[in-house]
Symmetry: C2
Subunit: 338 residues, 2 copies
DNA sequence: AAATGTTTCGCAATCGATTGCGGTTACGTT
DNA sequence: AACGTAACCGCAATCGATTGCGAAACATTT
């Protein structure tokens, strides 16, 4: 109930000045042993804790980094454990999390909130709606370093920690081809997102390199559990339905899988499925889900590390793109290579 | 790169005092139209934004609430969308998220961080290790209202938003009984947690009320995907293995399910399974998982609402326990009632 | 013309902690 | 006795924004 103990309270109680208290607490040599003991004892007794807000104002350092993600959920699909917080925590930073709910307008408000709160840097994974990045770049102009992760703006000179989506998609698709599938569909992310574009590109290139014609009606934008169900139903009702599906993420892949099962179509015998993310999901479905592991934890760690680096030393020259390795995790939803 | 624009910068540029700028920005009647226009124009041009840190210091209001959870993941299993952020956001609050990683020591540090940062209130779901609550209660003594959610300390006069774990467990177990199962095992949470104790109690009571003897060797503390696997294997190797499993949460239920499948034991024909939480998981397993829906989103919403209420008006008298309704979601992992 | 009123704005204190600089003791030295 | 010098500590400014109070400058009233 009582208001927090301040340095003045201690000063008044001990009949000394606030400056002396401050110095005593920091073991400044100017202060006598005796005074220090008195101050420290009282501070401990009163459970004094420095006001971080006042320190922030004084030092112009908030020891806080901001995170903007489309949905907090996203975090988890990607991370399971958030590497971001582990790194930030070890470095003595707090984390302020904002979710844009996949809305451009809300992302703007998030950015302003981080700006007002004088975070020292921000980690951003952009929303599906975001087509313009002024609200984010403005942070950087304002001295708040920015690192994008997972979903980063394409062709913009900013710091990014991402995977090589094109290559990963290429590998996933190629695996389907190598296990004998020729008619391969793709459940894609919106083409506003770099990951949507790149994963589609990788898919296309894999087909091309293996002499398989690209068919537009086998590519459907559907990147959620629910959308994947509808899309899969439609695909399977085509005159020539696909015999494999490359899904842009695991949720989508699972949506497709469940729908196929409901249609009594055997996975992977009739239709093979490969997902993307290798989150917790891929373990628990039946059959288990083959997927592209994008090492979400490492991504979080690297993004946070890069951000801290930028906070310590502002960018000189060009921004950096850090690629996180990916690898295929082959489970039961795809066929074996023969 | 340049440091943020302050009210002084505007004052200097316009050759007026900081007070005038402040008042002009707030449309104070003392200031002439002319001056207001000049100030507003320059502020807009310079993209002035008030320093939230300075305001916090001045007003002793940070507009931030803290959240301590065992793991950010937990959030997700429970919420899918975090109701907390939605409510906080609408009320103009920022959210500072800390994870204890299920560690008591780290929870203490989290609490201190929230205290130092002068959050205006805190939402807490305690770690498995937490046996003492002084570090949290201290926040409340310090004027920082506290609302526990999901995992709350038992028998402590604090604000809580929880479910009636005992009753929910009772219902889940009863359902297993009603579908013809008599030998029912329970994969429990650590008995340090209220939810662990209550869910076990509900399980016991259901057995008792239906004249089924309680067997200690059918209760195993195992509340993760991995632990559930081992526990299930052990259970099935007993002389008289169970024919149903009530798991303390969905992760655990899924761990059991996958293990049974690996042992070629049919779910639900040989062993029925019911979980707890009704998160996203329950939809995607094969068979789909029956579970107790604890309405995680609402829990987050109610917890945040209660906290905001406490922030506005400190507690008078006794603390409140808000119960969130639960209901059984019956899917494929349990048998039908005959 | 003096007095009162109105408009418009600045001074200074405040929030909590820090820190350069200066001031006050007390002690030792010559 | 006079001066020097540590040892110790306080004043006041600072960070950015707000606000009570007072003070100008000008207009209006009597």
């Amino acid at each position: 109930m009582s208001s927090p103990i301040t340095i003045k309270d201690i000063a008044k109680a001990l009949n000394i000045s606030a400056s002396t208290v401050s110095r005593a607490l920091k073991d400044h040599p100017d202060i006598s042993r005796e005074t220090k003991n008195a101050v420290n004892d009282l501070a401990a007794k009163l459970r004094y804790k420095p006001n971080a807000v006042a320190l922030s104002l004084k030092n112009s350092r908030t020891n806080t980094i901001g995170v903007i993600v489309p949905e907090v959920v996203h975090f988890f699909f990607l991370f399971r454990h958030s590497g971001i917080e582990d790194v930030a925590y070890d470095a003595g930073y707090n984390v302020m999390v904002c979710q844009s709910n996949e809305m451009y307008t809300r992302e703007i408000i998030n950015a302003q909130a981080l700006d007002s709160n004088r975070v020292e840097g921000a980690l951003v994974s952009i929303s599906k709606e975001t087509h313009d990045f002024a609200h984010l770049l403005y942070l950087e102009e304002n001295g708040i370093p920015l690192v994008f992760f997972d979903r980063a703006p394409e062709e913009l000179d900013v710091d990014k920690v991402i995977i090589d989506d094109c290559k990963a998609a290429y590998n996933a698709t190629t695996h389907l081809i190598e296990t004998g599938c020729k008619r391969i569909a793709h459940l894609a992310a919106p083409q506003t997102l770099g990951i949507g574009i790149q994963r589609l590109a990788g898919y296309k290139k894999a087909l091309e390199d293996h002499g398989i014609p690209y068919r537009e009606d086998w590519v459907i934008v559907a990147d959620s559990f629910e959308l994947a169900g509808d899309a899969t139903r439609n695909l399977m009702h085509l005159p020539t339905p696909p015999e494999a599906i490359f899904a842009v993420n695991d949720m989508t892949a699972v949506g497709a899988m469940k729908t196929l099962q409901r249609m009594s179509i055997a996975v992977p015998q009739k239709v093979a499925i490969i997902g993307f993310s290798a989150g917790f999901f891929s373990d628990i479905t039946t059959p288990t889900l083959s997927s592209v592991d994008q090492h979400g934890y490492e991504m979080g760690v690297e993004a946070a590390k890069l951000l801290l680096q930028r906070i310590e030393a502002p960018v000189e020259g060009k921004h950096k793109t850090h690629y996180i390795d990916t690898h295929l995790v082959l489970r039961e939803s795809t066929k074996r290579k023969s």
